[in-house]
Symmetry: C2
Subunit: 145 residues, 2 copies
DNA sequence: TATTGTTATACTCTATAACTATA
DNA sequence: TATAGTTATAGAGTATAACAATA
């Protein structure tokens, strides 16, 4: 077998990039949870609300998007429904399915939530168009897109 | 009023970058939790173990690193201690302080945990040295470093 | 039979507040 | 008084298993 390509792991440059990505992840959550908390939402609730503000969908599909078990979605949607941000509607095509959909209030909250998410706006604003293009391309390649 | 500088938010390019960062965050957690689960650890436990494998430290400092309340650290360290991966030691300089430190077993587990974290290795391996340098610089600027 | 959503259960993480032992 | 760590408590997220309704 040819010598395996394992150098990146110990490469100082790669370690530095990994460190920076960890920092991005940390910062991302910090700001996301903070924005959610401003609206008395948990991170999970904010994610579901943001998801449903784009499109109503069955409980099962929310679980797939969140990468969690369907049973968990019941509780999260329950809490959003109690607060009047989301409602469950029957699916005309399949009576087993419940479609979760944002209410008018939920749509407004989702919009304000998105507006208060400074993560992207502020830090990326410091980069030029070309730099953002370069960052986009590098991230895409890194993610295998 | 003069045209406000809010273009980044609605700029399609920036939105794309934000989307990609969200994907990086998601992928990062997915792989981290997966690697932790391989060793029957939760994400929080794995983070603390990794932290302590670098350096023993007081409970309070762990809380600051994790950005959580000190009372939570008690339980996390309890569970690691029950499994023999971590131990509490007195601080000779201050008898109020308990220093959490990895055991030999904990050090080995932390090393295997780090080894199974493919996130950095695999995706960054596809980038050239110059590309990784560019990515590093862009991330640093984005993070304000 | 298979699928959708729910319930029941147990565990972990989380913040808050009160407690203890030191300082 | 102030600080370090813990305990007690309550709420939220998570996975697992079992269930009712529907396909």
């Amino acid at each position: 077998m040819a010598p395996r390509t394992d150098p990146p792991l110990t490469d100082p440059l790669t370690l530095e990039v990994v460190e920076l990505i960890g920092e991005v992840v940390s910062r991302y959550h910090e700001e996301y949870d903070e924005a959610a908390a401003e609206h008395s939402l948990t991170g999970a609730q904010a994610r579901v609300l943001a998801l449903l503000s784009l499109e109503a969908m069955p409980m099962r599909r929310i679980a797939r998007k969140l990468k969690c078990e369907p049973s968990n979605v019941t509780g999260i949607v329950d809490r959003l429904e109690t607060r009047g941000l989301v409602e469950r509607r029957p699916d005309p095509a399949d009576r087993r399915v419940k479609l979760a959909a944002v209410t008018e209030d939920g749509r407004r909250t989702a919009a304000r939530l998105r507006a208060s998410l400074d993560f992207a706006r502020e830090p990326l604003g410091g980069l030029s168009y070309d730099e953002r293009t370069a960052l986009r391309d590098l991230l895409k390649r890194m993610l295998g897109n």
